[in-house]
C-alpha cells in the first residue's frame, strides 16, 4: 500500500514502529498534491517547506524519545477560514486575500500541540456560504470522482483532498451541512460535533450560533482520533461546552448493543434521488442485520429547517461580516479613483441643479465602505448580507428573526422527543449526489435545498455525521446521515465503525 493510501491510524502505527518517518509520509502527500491538485483544485495554499520542517521536527522528537501528541507526524489539511498565525487566511474571498492573522485559532494550536503536520489550506465557498465551493473567489475545486462535478461545499476542498488521497485528515466547518454534504459528495467521512464541543476561537465566523469545526477523514477510526485531538473546553470561547472530552479513539471500535435507529418519514419524500434512497435503505438494512431495531419517527418541524436557517444564518452573517469594511479589515477600494468619481457625481448633480441629490450624496467615508464591500464580496455573500440586514431591520425583526428563533426551539424539541425513543436518527445526507459544476449557480434556492437534511442538526446544536454508504448507478458516492443527541459523538463514531466493518464503501477511491 502506498503511503498516501494509508489512514491516519495506519500511518501512526507505522510511524511508531519506525517503519516510516513523518518526512516520508509528508513527502508522499505533497507529491500526491503536486500530481493531482492541478485537476482537483482542493488547496488554496500548500505549505511545503513548513510542513517538511514540522515533519522533521516530529521525527527528531520521536527519535529522541520525547513525548508526542495524538497526531504526531500525520499530515493534515486545514480549511482556509481558521486563523493561522503568520499565514494568509482568506476565507476564499477577495476581501481577505491578503489577510495574515497575528494569532492562531484554538484548533490550530491544538493540532500543533498534537504534533500534526499542516500541509496546506483548502478551498471553500467564500466565507463558508454555499454548497458547491463554486462561490470561492480564489479557485475552482472539482469532485475527484468526476471533475465535471462539484465537490459539494462549503468544505469542498477539505472533502476533495481526502477523496483524492492527498491527506488522511482534513478539517472542515459546518454551519448548515458544510462538512457533511461535501463528505457525502466525495465519498468520505465528515462529522459535525455538538455545538460547543470544539472551540470556535479563531474561526472566521459565518453564523456564530451555528458554526462548528469538525473532523473529516476516510474512516471512522481516523475521525474519532481527529475529533479527540481538536475537542475540549476553551475559556476563550464563551459558547464552548465546559464538559470533559471523551477519548473517542478508545471507544470507537466498541459495537453498540440494542441500537434503535429512527428513520424520519419526511426525509424519504419528494425531491430525494432514487439511487440515493436505495443506497440509504440498504445501509439501514446493514444495521438491521447487525441487530438494530428500525423505528419510523417524525420530526414535524423539520420542514421549516431551511426557512429558519436562511433567516438566522444570514442575520448573524450580516453582523459578523460588518468588520470587513475597508477601514478595519478586508479589501479597500482605490481611494483616489473613488474620490474622483464622487466629485464627478457631485459636479453633475450641481450642474443639474439637484440640491437634494447633492445633500443625499455619500460622504467619502460611506462611499469607501460601499465600494470596498461591493468590490470585495462575491454575489452569494452579498445576497446573504442583504437578506440578514433585511430580517434584522426595525419592523421586520419580530416577523423574521424572532419567529425563526421560536421555530428553532420547536425543531430542537422535536429532536428531544425523538431521542427518547431512538438512539440515532438516520437518513440521506443530501437529496442528491454531486451535481455538475455550474448547474445550480443561477438558482440560489435550489442550492439552498442541498442543506435540506443537514441544517436542523445545526439549529438544534446536536452532532451529526456523514459516512459513505454506496454509489449511484452513475458511480457517484452517497452519504448516510446520522444524528445523535448533544454530546453523543461517541455513539455516532461507534455506529460508523460498525458499518465500516461490514462494508467497504469507505475504501473505494476515485481513479485520478
Amino acid at each position: 500500500m502506498a503511503l498516501y493510501e494509508a489512514s491516519a491510524t495506519q500511518l501512526l502505527s507505522q510511524l511508531e514502529s519506525g517503519e516510516v518517518t513523518s518526512v516520508e509520509v509528508t513527502k508522499a502527500c505533497l507529491d500526491r498534491i503536486r500530481q493531482h491538485d492541478g485537476a482537483v483544485g482542493a488547496f488554496l495554499k500548500v505549505m511545503d517547506e513548513k510542513a517538511l520542517a514540522q515533519a522533521a521536527e516530529v521525527d527528531r522528537k520521536r527519535k529522541a524519545g520525547e513525548e508526542l501528541g495524538l497526531l504526531a507526524g500525520v499530515p493534515v489539511a486545514v480549511k482556509d477560514l481558521l486563523c493561522t498565525e503568520g499565514e494568509v487566511t482568506t476565507c476564499a474571498s477577495k476581501m481577505l486575500k491578503d489577510f495574515v492573522p497575528p494569532y492562531s485559532s484554538t484548533v490550530i494550536k491544538k493540532l500543533q500541540a498534537a504534533d500534526a503536520v499542516i500541509v496546506g489550506k483548502t478551498n471553500m465557498d467564500e466565507f463558508a456560504m454555499g454548497g458547491s465551493t463554486e462561490n470561492s473567489a480564489l479557485g475552482k475545486t472539482r469532485n475527484p470522482w468526476n471533475t465535471d462535478l462539484v465537490p459539494g461545499g462549503s468544505s469542498g476542498g477539505a472533502a476533495a483532498c481526502l477523496a483524492a488521497q492527498m491527506v488522511p485528515l482534513s478539517i472542515g466547518t459546518d454551519t448548515g451541512g458544510s462538512i457533511r454534504q461535501p463528505a457525502s459528495f466525495c465519498g468520505v467521512v465528515g462529522l459535525k460535533p455538538t455545538y460547543g464541543r470544539v472551540s470556535r476561537f479563531g474561526l472566521i465566523a459565518f453564523a456564530s450560533s451555528l458554526d462548528q469545526i469538525g473532523p473529516m477523514a476516510r474512516t471512522a477510526e481516523d475521525t474519532a482520533l481527529f475529533l479527540e485531538a481538536m475537542s475540549g473546553h476553551d475559556p476563550q470561547d464563551s459558547t464552548s461546552a465546559n464538559v470533559p472530552c471523551p477519548l473517542f479513539s478508545k471507544t470507537v471500535d466498541q459495537p453498540l448493543e440494542g441500537l434503535r435507529i429512527g428513520l424520519v418519514k419526511e426525509h424519504f419524500g419528494e425531491g430525494l434521488d432514487g439511487d440515493v434512497e436505495k443506497a440509504v435503505r440498504e445501509a439501514v438494512s446493514v444495521y438491521e442485520k447487525l441487530g438494530a431495531k428500525v423505528v419510523d419517527i417524525s420530526l414535524p418541524h423539520n420542514k421549516y429547517g431551511i426557512a429558519t436557517y436562511y433567516i438566522i444564518a444570514p442575520s448573524e452573517a450580516s453582523s459578523n461580516l460588518a468588520r470587513f469594511d475597508g477601514a478595519h479589515y478586508g479589501h479597500r477600494c482605490d481611494e483616489a479613483t473613488m474620490l474622483e468619481e464622487l466629485q464627478k457625481e457631485k459636479d453633475a448633480l450641481v450642474a443639474a441643479g439637484d440640491e437634494l441629490g447633492v445633500k443625499r450624496m455619500d460622504t467619502p467615508l460611506i462611499r469607501m465602505y460601499r465600494q470596498s464591500r461591493a468590490e470585495g464580496f462575491g454575489p452569494e455573500v452579498k445576497r446573504r448580507i442583504m437578506l440578514g440586514t433585511y430580517t434584522l431591520s426595525a419592523g421586520y425583526y419580530d416577523a423574521f428573526y424572532l419567529k425563526a428563533l421560536k421555530v428553532r426551539r420547536l425543531i430542537r424539541e422535536d429532536y428531544d422527543k425523538a431521542f427518547k425513543t431512538v438512539d440515532l436518527i438516520v437518513g440521506p445526507t443530501a437529496p442528491n449526489p454531486a451535481f455538475a459544476a455550474g448547474s445550480k449557480t443561477n438558482d440560489p434556492l435550489a442550492m439552498y435545498l442541498e442543506d435540506l437534511y443537514t441544517v436542523t442538526a445545526n439549529l438544534a446544536g446536536i452532532p451529526a455525521m456523514s459516512i459513505p454508504c454506496g454509489f449511484t448507478s452513475g458511480g457517484l458516492p452517497v452519504g448516510l446521515h446520522m444524528q445523535a443527541p448533544a454530546l453523543e459523538e461517541d455513539r455516532l463514531l461507534r455506529a460508523a465503525y460498525m458499518f465500516q466493518k461490514e462494508t467497504d464503501w469507505h475504501a473505494k477511491t476515485p481513479s485520478l
Binding site: 460588518a322 470587513f324 478595519h328
Partner: protein, 490 residues
C-alpha cells in the same frame, strides 16, 4: 425659571467602570497610554476572535444597580448594536437592548439651600456595554485626516438612564452630583469627566402652560458635548429659553418635529444643531450569539445588597441625627467623599465636640485642600494631630485666632500641636497670673472701669487688647469674665 413653562429633563449618563481590564478581553483600561498599545485581537474585532465577559465588570454593574434601587432580573443577555463607524472595529457594539441587567430604580435628590424640594428621580434602567474607540480628527494643512485610537475600545461602560423627572437645570445638576457621589462611594468608577469616565447626554423639552387643559410640549432635544456638570446646567438653561423662543416663533410641538440632537458649545455658551446620523434609529439589535446570557440568582443580589457600603443619603442623616450637626454641614462633609466623612467622624469622636470638628473640617481643612489643590486623602494633618489642637482650644490653652496660626504651621510640619504651641510660646496662663493681670489692667484704666460699672460692656475690648500685649497667651473669654467679675466688687 419662567412661569410660562415647565422644563422636562431626563439624563443619560455613561460611566466607565473601574475594572483593570476591558469588558470582553484582558487588555488594560488604563488611561493615557500611547495610541493602540492596549489592544488585542478581541478588542480589535479581528476576524475569528471571540468575546469573554469580564465578571468583575458585571459585579460592579450589580453593585451600582443595588445602590440605585434598581431591580436586577434573574436573566440578562448581550445584544449587538450594528452600525458602521471607523472607531467601531467590529461594525457593532456589544450592548444590552431589551433585557438590561437592571431596571426601574430611583435616586433621591435634595438641595441643602432648599432651592427645590427633595424629590425622587426615577431611573429607567442601567445596562452594560462596551465603549468604542476614539476618532481624532486632524484637519491641519487643509488635509482632512482622521486617526483612530482603539485603546478605549471595549472598556466597560454602565449606561444609566433617568426618567424625565427633573424640572430645572439645578435639579439636573443635583442628580448628577448625587449620582457621581454614589458611584464614587461605591468605588465603581473614578467619574473623571476630563478623561471621559463620566459622560452626560441630556434630553430636554418644555411643557408650556396654557388655558388649554392639554399640555403643549415642545420637540425633544438631546444635548451632547457637555464636559462638566456646570456645562450641563448652563446648556439646559440655554436650551429652555431657546425652545421657548422657537415655539413662540414657529408654534412647533412634539407632534410636528422628531427628536433632534444639538451640541453644547462651551466657548460660545450656546447649543448648535448636530448632523443626524442617517437611519440612526435602526441599529438592527439582536442577541449576540458569541456570548452566553448571564443568570443572577436572588442570593447573589442579596449578597451584594448586604455588602453595600453606607450611601451618601444615609450618612447625611446619620451625621445630622447622630452628631447633631446641621443638615447643611452634613451635606458639605458627605459631598467631599467617604474620606472626609471618616475624618470628620474620627475627629468628632476624639475631641468629643462634633460641631467644632465639623466647623474645622468644613472651613479650615477644605480651604487648605482648595488652596493647595489636594484630594482629601492627601491632607497633611492627621486626625490625631488636629484633635490635639482642638483639645487645646477646648482646654482654653489657646484661642481660636492663634489656633489658626498653629494649624498653618502644622500643615508643613510633622510636629503635634503642643510642640508647635511651645515653639510659639503659647501656654495656658494660670489663674493667679491672670488675676494679677486683670487687677493690673483695671487699676491702670479707671475710665474703663467707670464705663463698665455703667454697663458699657464694649469698654472691655480695649482692656483685652492691652492685656494681650502684655501676655499673648491669655484667653480673651476668661479675661473678659474676670474683668466683669472684679469690676462688680470694686
Amino acid at each position: 425659571m419662567s412661569d410660562n413653562y415647565d422644563i422636562i429633563i431626563g439624563l443619560e449618563v455613561h460611566v466607565q467602570l473601574a475594572t483593570k481590564t476591558k469588558l470582553f478581553c484582558r487588555c488594560s483600561t488604563k488611561f493615557g497610554a500611547s495610541p493602540n498599545t492596549q489592544t488585542c485581537p478581541v478588542c480589535l474585532g479581528m476576524p475569528g476572535s471571540l468575546p469573554v465577559m469580564n465578571r468583575e465588570a458585571f459585579a460592579l454593574g450589580l453593585k451600582t444597580a443595588c445602590a440605585l434601587n434598581l431591580n436586577v432580573p434573574r436573566f440578562t443577555k448581550w445584544d449587538r448594536k450594528n452600525y458602521y463607524y471607523p472607531d467601531l472595529p467590529k461594525g457593532y457594539q456589544i450592548s444590552q437592548f431589551d433585557l438590561p441587567m437592571s431596571e426601574d430604580g430611583y435616586l433621591w435628590i435634595s438641595d441643602p439651600k432648599e432651592q427645590f424640594e427633595a424629590k425622587k428621580v426615577g431611573i429607567i434602567r442601567a445596562h452594560l456595554e462596551e465603549d468604542a474607540g476614539k476618532s481624532m480628527h486632524d484637519e491641519a494643512a487643509g488635509k482632512a485626516d482622521t486617526r483612530i485610537d482603539l485603546n478605549r475600545t471595549g472598556t466597560p461602560l454602565l449606561e444609566i438612564v433617568s426618567q424625565p423627572d427633573m424640572r430645572s437645570p439645578l435639579e439636573a445638576k443635583a442628580y448628577l452630583n448625587e449620582l457621581k457621589l454614589i458611584l464614587t462611594y461605591l468605588g465603581v468608577s473614578d467619574c473623571n469627566m476630563q478623561e471621559g469616565s463620566l459622560r452626560v447626554d441630556a434630553n430636554v423639552n418644555l411643557h408650556i402652560k396654557s388655558d388649554d387643559p392639554h399640555k403643549i410640549a415642545t420637540p425633544i432635544v438631546e444635548i451632547k458635548n457637555m464636559n462638566s456638570f456646570r456645562a450641563v446646567e448652563r446648556a439646559l438653561a440655554y436650551e429652555a429659553i431657546r425652545q421657548y423662543d422657537e415655539w413662540q416663533e414657529t408654534g412647533k410641538t412634539i407632534k410636528d418635529a422628531p427628536k433632534t440632537t444639538r451640541g453644547w458649545d462651551d466657548q460660545a455658551q450656546v447649543t448648535r444643531p448636530q448632523r443626524e446620523k442617517e437611519d440612526s434609529s435602526d441599529y438592527r439589535y439582536f442577541p449576540d450569539p458569541d456570548l452566553a446570557p448571564v443568570i443572577t440568582t436572588e442570593e447573589e443580589v442579596e449578597a451584594v445588597q448586604q455588602a453595600l457600603c453606607e450611601l451618601p443619603m444615609a450618612i447625611r442623616e446619620r451625621l445630622h441625627d447622630g452628631y447633631g450637626i446641621p443638615a447643611y454641614d452634613a451635606d458639605v462633609i458627605v459631598n467631599q467623599g467617604i474620606v472626609a466623612v471618616t475624618y470628620f467622624e474620627d475627629l468628632a469622636l476624639k475631641t468629643g465636640d462634633a460641631k467644632m470638628s465639623s466647623n474645622w473640617v468644613q472651613q479650615d481643612v477644605l480651604r487648605v485642600l482648595k488652596e493647595r489643590d489636594l484630594e482629601f486623602d492627601q491632607f497633611p494633618i492627621t486626625v490625631e494631630r488636629l484633635s490635639g489642637l482642638l483639645k487645646a482650644i477646648m482646654n482654653k490653652e489657646i484661642d481660636t485666632t492663634r489656633a489658626k496660626d498653629v494649624f498653618t504651621q502644622m500643615l508643613d510640619s510633622e510636629k503635634d500641636a503642643p510642640a508647635i504651641m511651645q515653639e510659639m510660646g503659647i501656654e495656658k496662663v494660670d489663674d493667679s497670673e491672670l488675676d494679677n493681670l486683670v487687677k493690673e489692667i483695671l487699676l491702670a484704666n479707671p475710665k474703663a472701669v467707670e464705663d463698665l460699672k455703667n454697663g458699657v460692656q464694649k469698654a472691655v475690648g480695649a482692656l483685652i487688647g492691652q492685656a494681650k500685649k502684655k501676655n499673648p497667651n491669655i484667653d480673651p473669654g476668661t479675661f473678659r469674665e474676670k474683668c466683669l467679675e472684679l469690676v462688680k466688687d470694686m
